[in-house]
């Protein structure tokens, strides 16, 4: 077990290296350069100025050397200075914004897992009755409708029609509610669907019948026997779910004016902010990889048939 964790953690290094290399290559292969930005509102620079800037940022060196320098610095947690926010280092910006995104993502995932499981179980236990329909329609809406559209509806409903929550900001727990719900609905829908399907399968399995036959109460049958088995396929979903919440957060953060990392996904790419692109993708990638490891370990803890 311990060995497995160490081995998996060591695998993080080549994974991140590959990710860094691909991003680096794609970034430099795309037309447009940070020295001659195609971004909105940018002025063209004179060739001399471009040359000077290239020297300062090390962009005049050959690509392999640039990549090596980047790796050396990144290993020490130094991602350089942002090309767009010239007075701040990338590490500073990320230190400020990543925790906000992390909190939002964690809240949303917690809600998605708890809500999705509840809805899925209700739907399976009360199959083809009201709870089933409620949870299936909620799941459908959550999956089908883009989260920026959901955000608009939620703001209209819960900020204007029933003024319960503010339309944006990130100062008090009350501000957290709407962004969290918006971000959680899609993964919640997916989890609910999967839980329902796998619960329905498990409820009809022989061991559930045995549990009932030996006189266990309905509660114990559902939670101790059925849910534990039905949960396993759902856990597999959690990995990709982290990714979905991560990309989704850009829209949610921009609508609710959450000061998180999400906006840098797009801003860094359109602004050709090379250091920022690398840092954002790698932070995201590392986070995803760690989460996938956690999910795999959770898998083993839940299912005694899986041994490492």
């Amino acid at each position: 077990m311990f060995q497995y964790i160490v081995a998996r953690a060591l695998w993080l290094v080549p994974t991140l290296l590959a990710m860094a290399l691909v991003t680096f290559l794609v970034m430099h292969a795309t037309p447009g350069s940070p020295l001659d930005p195609v971004a909105e509102g940018a002025n063209p620079l004179s060739p001399e100025a471009q040359k000077n800037l290239a020297e300062i940022y090390g962009l005049d060196k050959p690509l392999p050397e640039q990549f090596a320098i980047f790796l050396g610095k990144a290993a020490r947690g130094d991602f350089g200075t942002s090309f767009v926010y010239k007075t701040r280092t990338v590490a500073e910006i990320l230190r400020e914004t990543f925790p906000v995104s992390l909190l939002l993502g964690a809240l949303a995932l917690a809600l998605a897992v708890v809500g999705g499981l509840t809805l899925g179980i209700l739907a399976a236990v009360y199959q083809n009755r009201m709870w089933d329909y409620v949870s299936v329609s909620l799941a459908t809406v959550g999956v089908a409708v883009p989260n920026f559209v959901l955000a608009v509806f939620l703001i209209i409903l819960f900020s204007f029609v029933v003024p319960l929550f503010p339309t944006g900001g990130w100062n008090s727990p009350r501000d957290w509610v709407l962004p969290t719900v918006t971000l959680a609905l899609a993964p919640m829908g997916i989890i609910a669907r999967f839980t329902r399907a796998s619960m329905l399968e498990v409820i009809r399995a022989d061991f559930t019948l045995t549990a009932r036959a030996k006189g266990l109460g309905e509660r114990a049958v559902i939670f101790k026997h059925a849910l534990k088995n039905a949960f396993i396929p759902v856990v597999t979903l959690l990995g990709p779910m982290f990714a979905a919440v991560g990309t989704g957060s850009f829209f949610v953060e921009s609508i609710f004016r959450v000061p998180g990392m999400g906006r840098f996904f797009v801003l860094s790419m359109t602004g050709r902010d090379y250091p920022m692109i690398m840092a954002v993708i790698l932070t995201y990638g590392a986070f995803l990889a760690v989460m996938n490891l956690v999910v795999d370990l959770l898998y083993g803890a839940l299912d005694p048939r899986i041994r490492y």
């Binding site: 999956v143 089908a144 920026f148 608009v152 703001i155 209209i156």
Partner: protein, 295 residues
């Protein structure tokens, strides 16, 4: 899960292939939710085609005396930040959404099906390379990749087609490959080969027609995904070029003024939600109709 092949009825499928589609259509007709979705999609297509006739005003017509007006008799859905009629812009927005949804899917099929079919049929090293490549593409968050491509190519409708086509073919290639792999070992393929059918004929006449069901299902789900991608890109501002109206872009711009002018983003939001739900219902219906076992 959605889109896996109908393994069990493959052998009988060739003999009653015309019946499969007829049965499917019958089952689809009985599905009320799917039919409702289909009707909405049809209406949206009509709106998109006849936008020039339906729109009361040109979508570029500004009116600086009537900015951000709430819905009224003159402007049924109100006016936007530069006094353009919101209803007209919504009608032309339908055109963009439908074009992207259908057009991008055509590109996706044209790239994905041949690659998947060849890789599945030929096997060997080409197949290994492709599967590895597909796995890598799957690991990348799709939307991020599209944004990256768009920021490299620049905004515009053609580039949206390219970006979605470049990233979207992977799923359909994977499906086609799996189908072709399963079907190429069947007796009827051997039979056709024994009768002297060449490589091209085998693939296009004998194997692909039998692999169509999951491809059709995957296309019906691909359309709303493409529409969503366009809306999301335009929302960020790297999608459609203004002044061409797109629902996503209207939501993106309108949500900044949601406190003062709710109508700016609410109507396009409703349009996106209705479109996405219609395609989802219709797609679910098509999947269940063509392959009842998958339900």
């Amino acid at each position: 899960m959605r889109g896996q092949g109908p393994r069990s009825n493959e052998s009988g499928e060739a003999a009653r292939s015309s019946n499969l589609w007829r049965d499917g259509l019958r089952r689809l007709r009985k599905n009320r939710l799917a039919m409702a979705g289909g009707v909405v999609i049809l209406l949206l297509c009509l709106v998109a085609v006849f936008a020039d006739v339906l729109a009361p005003l040109p979508y570029t017509k500004t009116n600086f005396g009537r900015l951000n007006e709430a819905p009224s008799r003159e402007f049924p859905l109100g006016t936007d930040q530069v006094g353009r009629d919101l209803l007209s812009r919504m009608i032309y927005g339908a055109r963009v959404s439908m074009l992207v949804g259908l057009g991008a899917q055509i590109i996706v099929v044209l790239i994905g099906v041949p690659i998947g079919a060849l890789s599945g049929y030929l096997g060997g090293r080409a197949d290994i390379c492709l599967t590895r490549f597909i796995d890598v593409m799957y690991a990348f968050p799709r939307l991020l990749f599209v944004i990256l491509v768009m920021s490299a190519l620049g905004a515009g409708l053609t580039n949206i087609f390219i970006a979605i086509g470049l990233t979207g073919w992977v799923g359909i290639a994977r499906q086609t490959r799996a189908q072709v792999l399963a079907i190429k070992e069947k007796e009827f393929v051997d039979g056709a080969r024994a009768l002297g059918a060449g490589f091209g004929r085998l693939l296009t006449r004998h194997i692909l027609p039998n692999a169509l069901t999951p491809i059709v299902v995957s296309v019906t789900f691909g359309i709303p995904e493409a529409i969503f991608t366009e809306a999301a890109l335009s929302f960020i501002g790297v999608g459609i070029n203004p002044p061409t109206p797109s629902w996503g872009q209207m939501v993106g711009e309108g949500q900044q003024y949601i406190r003062s002018y709710w109508h700016l983003c609410v109507f396009p939001s409703i349009a996106i939600a209705v479109t996405m739900l219609s395609f989802t219902f219709f797609g679910d219906g098509v999947r269940d109709a063509l392959d009842p076992k998958l339900k």
